[in-house]
Symmetry: C2
């Protein structure tokens, strides 16, 4: 309800402004504060897996409230499904906060992180988050969304149990806390090193804390989770000396050479072990503010200290908050839009915000970072990034970066190449984070990101080296079905899970490699990988008309249900939807499936069929909200599908469908994401679609037209040019595009090229309530 | 028996040479191979805790056979006393070898290390050292001392079970293995990352292995043991590509993101977990040699690779072996001695060898090392060392270094100052190893090492900074009774264990600080610490005539047994022996104890009393071999005692007693050390005593005279000067020194100064069978 009020108030404030034309507004671009259209709570309910906390654009620190402490495994060892809801540590329905962690993924469908949980409390010292050993209340606090607010780079909440107001902001590498305390002779700030997102016993490998002086702490934590060997270092500074401090260990200590010589529990400046919670005690006057800066590093505590001193050498919370808001506004204002409703504007800018949260910067201010080989490297000529959820993000997020963040995308590709250089497998990243490869999902989609950048002439990365990396990656026989794929020309279902999905994704990836080779004049490689890119044929069953699991003996699997998403050779999809994934050769797919009419009917059925409960229940990651018939927008493999009507000669169906998806699958509410945002992929789909086009085939340099949601958009390109998008006669009913006028000429066909965009100019969509 | 034969053979070989005079021999110093007098097996039986493996002088790598795998705790959680025998991994009585580890302490009385156990085998692959899960034989092999040999920098053994001859040598940072295999199509080299000296469940924090290519492996291990946060990195290179490889995990894997994507067991190049054993498979022809180089680093695998490439860029095993032998000879030949028997020469040079094993170099070839703060530092203007067993080594080892290794001792002091700079406690090292402080034993004896260097004008370390470090260390109130010592002017027995030992050692340490301050003209500090150096008075009980535990209320503890070594306020000693520890003021101690005659009789009783079994049994660390009456030579606190007769006006009793100790407590056999060598302290006592003097009061710049065991000695000093020591009329019976002639003048009194030594010249001891 609170959010709704904020929304209404925002609408009133904006109403005066909205009557200006976009041209008038963009004249004074830096005066426009786009951050006020961002609602970081969008996606924090249900499956969005976003977080509401404070972070800078692509910032290394994401300091955000954590609302629960969920064990990943139940007492009997089985997976606890509740874990999944807390991928980003926060669920909107919760009414308690256990503290503020400094690392969080945005929108992932699996998780890790949650480093260095900090919690201010008053009264009796309690060191356990939920409940004490003897059943007492933990250090969590109740809170109300009425007393909570969030905007880009800022978060605030009143912790009811302690009367403490907690505010958070962040620079790139430093989280900045401001706690306003009541009068207390027993105020505490807890540093919980036990807490993890996706927590399980023994996830902590080692933790280490040093109390350097009366207000400076350093330390690190190593965990083994999704990232198998993950180390995060910190330096933590208080604005006021603590009066005393201590820690508690949560391990049965088998052996400790210290015990004879010290009482380590209190005021002993060196703490180490697997599971530790430390506390720092203060006296506070009513309204006294204690500020805490927490700098991170992947390298060392020395690196964290350098980051701390370089980024926030002062105690001016407002200054950091303002600087970070300005950074956000700079990024958000790269796309200035006028929308039909203010709600759409909030949805749009929050989506844009979500696309700018990851990958994250992953290096210290001096350019040093921990590499995949666990050695310390220095980024030379680029900024190193991590968190590459590539099976998701190659589809629309990196293509979006090629338009609005080409410099960063170039750095990201260089980071991927550094990953390759450091990889003992000689592979590009698959799903990597924090100097680790977690191998999540299938395929090697880094090649798509690279091929798309090459197609768009983005960046100055070494293209030959990139091709070499792609070829090497595509030949690691022991990787996840790849050896069999090379041997059989498809992934045999009796050898590998998700066999059809793998075959389809690998064939597309191989087409990307062929494009890279073509561009570099390497005809042999181009030919080889073009051949491989045809392997999707080998899993198409003409009898059923579906992509279908094939066994190593060359026969299709008998037991086959094209509607089932489990055990049918697909992952996060079924033959009906994932089977439509041949982006490199859509015309041929249509031919295989019986021609345009037949194909179009297949799409119609997909969107309109009633999916039986037994199928729905098995569909991962989504609620009924995220599904239209058997089309699953909450997962990625089908996100290109609405655009496929174009190829079937029915562009109006694309137009209607994408507008319908934008209206129903996105919105300005806490549950405004129908599935995991997947580090920005879901949001990037929205940004593209709202602008009227979508990269169905990354690596081609072309975008399929859809139907814009915006009335007007101005894209400020890094080359200094401007692309103006105008939807003439735009309205909620006028979802059809009768003509597209590109710089005064009618655009033929349904594709827009990267050149059309990057050269700037004007695209006019002539909207109508009837298909042309 | 074998050793005895070697000894006899050695004697025959040497007999021709021995008739030359020392002067003749020293003329051709570099021709003389002193390494052949070193028997690395001395001390490997019983309590010596030395290792027979290969290492360079002060080398970072100690590659040595491990003969057992002993759990530190029994199933019921209690300490397993057998652990203690394996402080250096090897016990001479054992008939099996489980492999070759690359890090070992020499002579310690507690332990850690044992990193990277390597074992060549043939036949069925077995990955467990002692027995397999189903009770089968482990990968250990039987061996015989008949097929074993060791010399400085070289070790060789035949592994009977496999017919493999294993040879080891080492450069400073690289262990070099040469395995001669039989014909086999199933030869293996096992890399056991589970094995630890002082092993217990969960001691391994994390291990990480990368198979970089078909013959290069990198990785690291972190353990929590005596060193709480210890990391060792490695790079391991085979002379021949392996045909296949794999690993086994010994953890219940709760969660592992890799499992869906790979079969990690075989030929998967990335292994990580807490407990891993890896193997590498080969085909071998009869007599084929596979060589393996294992480089260590405290910094990173990158550092280990640099060390590997810098130190042993070739595959010439003999070359490294020869180079290291030459390094040893260079160090050993700094003291050239002529002895009465060849056995004495073996004892002497093996003792000298043992003094040159630690502290060890602890930095990479580029000067980078892991500091106490776990950050990576670069040694600027010094070589960084670790393994400081200071409660032991301040007594004679570091004083010996001031004579024969002043440059290294300077580096060691700089390493201690770096430790101080990196210490969150702002303390100098107590017992430190591998970027960790283990706090073992009592006092802060780094100050003695520094004060002694200053008294001897050794080094160019920053003396003011050193004094500041000493003062800071001496004021850390929470350290092990120190706050109470400062408050009460003694350590109250009801507040702290080992209260009297602590009071005595701290008082001596404080005297050292006063000497440093005096030298730097800091009168205030000198006065303050001279006062503290008198605190030993406060635990002397005139009624009983003993140092005695005192309570915080100022009364002596009622229950008091001066012969008991447990719970009587002493550690590794009792009131009878440890109570004589006032090296800074021996005259006053004698006065307190009733004058010279009374004191002399106390010493007589000490050496002659019959210690009841009940007392002996409680005495730590020693066998009956290491005890004379109630004098315990196997532990350190009494090692100055035989020299105290000098102060009581009975120098002849010192002379007789030290000769007797040299003859009975040391010898050229595997059990030739009567107690732990304690990283060279026991051996340093022997070197000093054999030369005729001993540093009773390190920090004073003076040495008390004893009775030399050698006939002649030439000490080659680093300043280019030479000290010639001649024992005239030396014989086994002539243990008494009638006169000492220093550079032609009769020496008055019983003290020799550092200047007398460092300026070179000649000291003639006139020996006799009667006291003068």
């Amino acid at each position: 309800m609170k959010k709704f009020l904020i929304l209404i108030m925002g609408l009133l404030v904006l109403s005066a402004w909205k009557n200006k034309s976009l041209e008038q507004k963009t004249a004074g671009i830096l005066q426009t504060d786009y951050t006020r259209y961002v609602n970081p709570f969008i996606g924090t309910s249900k499956m969005g897996h976003t977080y509401p906390g404070a972070t800078a654009p692509f910032g290394m620190v994401q300091v955000s409230p954590q609302t629960n402490f969920v064990p990943m495994f139940k007492a009997d060892g089985s997976y606890n499904p509740e874990t999944y809801e807390y991928c980003a540590g926060y669920q909107y329905r919760d009414s308690t906060i256990i503290g503020f962690a400094h690392t969080n993924f945005s929108g992932t469908g699996h998780s890790d992180l949650g480093d260095f949980l900090m919690m201010p409390t008053t009264g009796d010292l309690v060191l356990e988050p939920l409940k004490t050993a003897n059943g007492g209340k933990g250090f969590y606090s109740a809170f109300s969304h009425n007393n909570e607010e969030a905007s880009p780079g800022y978060y605030k909440v009143l912790l009811d149990d302690y009367g403490i107001t907690a505010e958070l902001t962040a620079s790139d590498r430093v989280g900045f806390h401001r706690y306003t305390f009541p009068d207390s002779d027993s105020a505490h700030i807890i540093l919980d090193m036990v807490y993890n997102v996706y927590h399980y016993k023994n996830k902590n490998v080692w933790t280490f804390i040093r109390v350097e002086n009366d207000s400076l702490i350093t330390g690190y934590r190593q965990t083994k989770g999704w990232a198998r060997t993950r180390k995060v270092f910190f330096a933590m500074q208080f604005s006021k000396p603590f009066k005393s401090y201590g820690h508690k260990k949560y391990d049965s200590i088998i052996y400790d050479g210290f015990y004879r010589h010290f009482d380590q529990r209190e005021n002993f400046p060196e703490m180490a072990g697997k599971n530790i919670r430390a506390y720092f005690n203060f006296n506070t006057r009513e309204g006294e503010q204690i500020k805490v800066k927490m700098a991170l590093s992947s390298v060392s505590t020395e690196g964290a200290l350098k980051n701390l001193e370089a980024e926030i050498p002062h105690w001016d919370f407002e200054k950091t908050k303002t600087e970070t808001r300005e950074k956000w506004n700079k990024e958000l204002s790269k796309i200035e839009v006028e929308t039909m409703t203010e709600a759409d504007k909030i949805t749009f800018y929050t989506a844009l915000y979500h696309t700018l949260l990851s990958p994250i910067i992953y290096e210290d201010v001096d350019g040093r970072y921990r590499g995949l080989d666990q050695n310390i490297h220095t980024s030379d000529g680029f900024t190193n990034y991590t968190i590459f959820s590539l099976w998701d993000t190659y589809r629309a997020l990196h293509p979006l970066f090629n338009i609005i963040q080409p410099r960063r995308n170039n750095d990201m590709i260089k980071s991927m190449l550094a990953h390759y250089d450091q990889s003992v497998h000689h592979m590009l990243p698959v799903w990597s984070h924090y100097a680790n490869e977690n191998w999540c999902m299938i395929g090697y989609h880094a090649v798509s990101v690279i091929a798309d950048a090459m197609a768009c002439n983005v960046g100055d990365f070494e293209q030959k080296h990139a091709l070499q990396a792609a070829i090497s990656t595509a030949n690691v026989g022991y990787f996840d079905g790849l050896g069999d794929y090379i041997k059989y020309h498809y992934v045999p279902d009796d050898q590998s899970h998700s066999s059809v999905s793998k075959t389809l994704e690998l064939a597309y990836d191989d087409w990307c490699i062929a494009q890279m080779a073509k561009r570099l004049g390497d005809k042999k490689t181009e030919k080889e990988f073009l051949e491989r890119s045809q392997y999707y044929h080998n899993v198409f069953d003409p009898k059923t008309g579906f992509m279908r699991p094939k066994l190593s003996d060359g026969t299709f699997r008998k037991d086959f249900d094209p509607l089932d998403t489990h055990g049918q050779g697909f992952i996060e999809g079924n033959a009906w939807n994932y089977g439509l994934y041949v982006p490199q050769n859509i015309d041929e797919l249509i031919r295989l499936m019986g021609g345009k009419e037949h194909f179009s009917r297949h799409l119609d059925s997909l969107f309109t069929m009633e999916l039986a409960d037994k199928y729905f229940e098995k569909t991962e990651d989504i609620t009924r909200d995220g599904i239209i018939g058997n089309y699953v927008h909450g997962n990625e493999p089908g996100q290109h599908i609405p655009y496929l009507y174009n190829w079937a000669g029915k562009p109006y169906k694309t137009q209607k469908r994408v507008r319908m998806i934008m209206e129903t699958m996105y919105g300005p509410s806490v549950d405004g994401l129908c599935g995991n945002d997947d580090t920005g992929q879901m949001s990037a789909w929205y940004i593209f679609s709202a602008l009227g086009f979508y990269p169905v085939t990354p690596g081609s340099g072309y975008y399929a037209l859809g139907s814009p949601l915006v009335k007007e958009a101005v894209i400020h390109l890094e080359n200094g040019k401007t692309l103006h998008i105008i939807a003439k006669n735009q309205s909620k009913e006028n979802v059809y595009v009768n003509r597209v006028i590109l710089n005064g000429k009618v655009l033929q066909g349904f594709l827009l090229s990267y050149r059309d965009i990057i050269n700037g100019g004007e695209i006019v969509f002539e909207m109508s309530n009837k298909p042309r």
